[in-house]
């Protein structure tokens, strides 16, 4: 068996499991998906992330077979799946509502799909036991769905969807009904199970933290189009648009005019303010640009730092205390608001800065991202 490359999406010879080729889906006048191309590889944990109505659920329902593309093709293992009905696809789905059958026990729910296949009876029981063990709900095999908790139901739904060992598992907002603590625990379990079973997972979520935690790659969608498809760290640290940067985490967006000098760029962004110095992400970026910088990359201090070139003075307007972090809203002399984050690493210390304080904001040359406008 050939060793799978850790990042098959960077390997041009790797064969994708799923391919969307110029897929468009319209509902009447509404275009849910517009000319979408994407490759998803085997054993990936792929997250579709976007605001509600961005088309992510439609994509998933097309993979499951509940919707067919208006135009374009979807290939699974090189085969066009549009003519295959949902019950004949090696694709299973875990529903947002779990959709457990209320009249069947946990055991029979998990066995439901296996009974529709040609599996012999004895093997079905073994397989169900294996699934119950995998999601750790052996104790509840004979209960009905209404007799178990929400977290246990979520496990049953996962076990039921995995029982037939599908090539592809679709998860529609799988954790949205759980409370925050349980959700975080379950995220790690999901990753664990994905690794153990080696199944390709495609997860739909609007929770960016969830997508970043579980996924090997994240696709950020908006209005039926893919904005960026990349690993979580690249999406966060190297967003290709202000939309993506703003959607994932917090970001300061500063607009200005850039001039290139060798491998550095200076951006004029406000009259009477020093220019922002940054590094080039690609050559030839003279002109109007957007400068993006994450709040945690900005250092806030009372004295002007001397070890870096980007230093700006401003006034603290607002402080959001989040417990582990504090976010300072600092107003620049031209009115531009910049968010800076500082970790509250020490207990009991009184806050270093308060409202109306004059502070220095500073960052290194490589802290920000420069994008064409």
């Amino acid at each position: 068996m050939p060793e799978t490359t850790p990042n098959p999406w960077n390997d041009p010879t790797a064969k994708p499991l799923i391919q969307f080729k110029n897929v468009t889906k319209r509902f009447g006048n509404f275009t849910a998906i517009e000319d979408l191309n994407i490759d998803i590889y085997e054993k990936e944990f792929f997250a579709l992330l976007g605001p509600s109505g961005c088309g992510k659920t439609t994509m998933m329902r097309m993979l499951a077979g509940f919707e067919t593309p208006t135009s374009g093709t979807i290939l699974l293992d090189g085969q066009d799946i549009s003519p295959i009905p949902p019950n004949k696809r090696s694709v299973n789905m875990m529903f947002q509502s779990y959709a457990l059958f209320p009249h069947l026990t946990v055991f029979d729910n998990i066995a439901f799909g296996l009974k529709r296949s040609n599996m012999p009876k004895g093997q079905i029981a073994d397989r169900v036991q294996e699934m119950l063990r995998l999601v750790q709900i052996e104790k509840f095999a004979n209960r009905k769905p209404e007799q178990i908790s929400g977290g246990q139901r979520q496990r049953v739904a996962l076990a039921r969807a995995l029982a037939k060992a599908p090539k592809l598992l679709l998860l529609d907002e799988p954790l949205s009904a759980l409370d925050k603590k349980l959700r975080q625990e379950t995220q790690f379990e999901l990753m664990d199970i994905q690794e153990k079973t080696g199944t390709t997972f495609v997860i739909v979520t609007h929770d960016q933290e969830e997508a970043m935690t579980v996924a090997s790659r994240v696709a950020v969608m908006d209005h039926g189009k893919l904005k960026q498809v990349d690993t979580p760290d690249r999406i966060y640290e190297a967003p290709n648009s202000a939309y993506v940067a703003d959607f994932i985490g917090e970001v300061n967006i500063i607009e200005g005019h850039s001039t290139t000098q060798r491998d550095t760029v200076s951006i004029a962004w406000a009259k009477g303010q020093p220019e922002i110095i940054g590094t080039l992400s690609k050559p030839g970026m003279d002109g109007n640009v957007t400068f993006l910088i994450r709040p945690e990359k900005i250092v806030i201090s009372a004295e002007k730092p001397t070890d870096r070139r980007n230093t700006f003075q401003g006034k603290v307007v607002d402080i959001a205390y989040l417990g582990n972090l504090s976010t300072y809203y600092v107003q620049m002399p031209n009115g531009q608001m910049i968010k800076a984050q500082a970790a509250n690493s020490r207990r009991r210390s009184s806050r270093p800065f308060t409202w109306e304080d004059t502070v220095w904001l500073s960052w290194t040359d490589t802290a920000g991202i420069i994008l064409d406008r």
């Binding site: 499951a64 077979g65 509940f66 009905p85 949902p86 019950n87 004949k88 694709v91 299973n92 789905m93 529903f95 947002q96 509502s97 959709a99 457990l100 059958f101 209320p102 009249h103 439901f112 799909g113 529709r116 296949s117 009905k144 209404e146 007799q147 039921r160 969807a161 037939k164």
Partner: protein, 298 residues
């Protein structure tokens, strides 16, 4: 428990006591009495002024004579049997017609559903008797149905439907179908559509998803509908006496004749008590089953 709660609890019990248990006890008493040419036409009657002796005397005169009489005359048990048969078959036909209608209604576009519902209950806006009489007009030998079939050329000479059991079936099914449709429709509209998608996703065809998911989950509606049709159909009097023939045996007709034609209240009372017992058995079984399900949930 405070007074308010006791009051709320007691309303249904008082209702049952006054409108079910008390009349039932009166009928039971009559069924244990003997026929008499008097007003009321049975004996004994309780005279409380006679004191304890009269009270004891009253009870000593009650017996099960009428029930043994019912068992000895084949007319009665044949009537019961034929009533049960007609009610069972009618209930089954109602289910076969009512379920598809309810299913169609539940799957119709949202904006149509109130209209469809209205159409189902519309017949209740006219008197039941008028509707049965118009069925006579439709089913009689020169009625609309026969004329239509003759015109189509499907039949050569008019069918005899009226005054046969066929007419009784048609009458009962027509009258009671809405009682089947409404509870089934109510359970089907509550059915979560994602369950059917899940079943399909797990390998069911549309048809097997229907049998595996839709039917079991509408069980409560089906059972309720069957009761609502079976119970009134079993004791039905108007339909068999207006549409059925002389050979149509139904216990409702027998009851009416004993009561009004023969003025034999005690035998009529016994007929009614047995009818009630026949009806109570399935209800008790159902109730026990429900209770078991409830206990299993705990």
């Amino acid at each position: 428990m405070n007074f308010r709660r006791i009051f709320l609890f007691s309303i249904p019990y008082i209702w049952l006591l006054a409108l079910f248990l008390a009349p039932f006890l009166i009928v039971l008493k009559i069924s244990l009495s003997d026929i008499a040419l008097a007003i009321p036409p049975y004996t004994p009657t309780l005279d409380l002024s006679g004191g304890w002796v009269a009270f004891k005397d009253f009870f000593s005169q009650l017996d099960f004579e009428n029930f043994t009489f019912l068992a000895s005359d084949s007319l009665y048990w044949k009537s019961y049997l034929s009533s049960v048969q007609i009610a069972c078959i009618s209930t089954f036909i109602c289910l076969m017609i009512g379920f598809p209608i309810a299913y169609g209604m539940a799957n119709a576009p949202q904006e149509w559903q109130p209209t469809l519902m209205l159409l189902v209950i519309l017949p209740f806006w006219t008197s039941f008797l008028i509707r049965v009489y118009s069925l006579i007009g439709i089913l009689s030998q020169d009625g609309i149905l026969n004329q239509f079939l003759l015109w189509l050329g499907i039949i050569g000479e008019p069918l005899v439907i009226l005054n046969t059991n066929w007419a009784v079936y048609i009458g009962i099914v027509y009258t009671y179908c809405p009682f089947m449709i409404l509870p089934i429709y109510a359970t089907l509209t509550k059915l979560d559509a994602s369950l059917l998608e899940a079943a399909e996703d797990l390998g069911c065809s549309r048809t097997s998803a229907f049998w595996q998911i839709t039917v079991p989950l509408s069980k409560s509606g089906i059972i309720a509908g069957c009761f609502l049709v079976f119970i009134p159909a079993l004791g039905e009097f108007v339909i068999p006496s207006l549409l059925g023939g002389s050979s149509t045996l139904m216990i409702g007709k027998v009851l009416f004749e004993e009561f009004f034609a023969n003025r034999d209240w005690p035998v009529a009372g016994a007929v009614a008590v047995i009818l009630l017992l026949i009806l109570i058995i399935p209800i008790v079984l159902y109730q026990r089953n429900e209770q078991k399900m409830m206990e299993a949930k705990k």
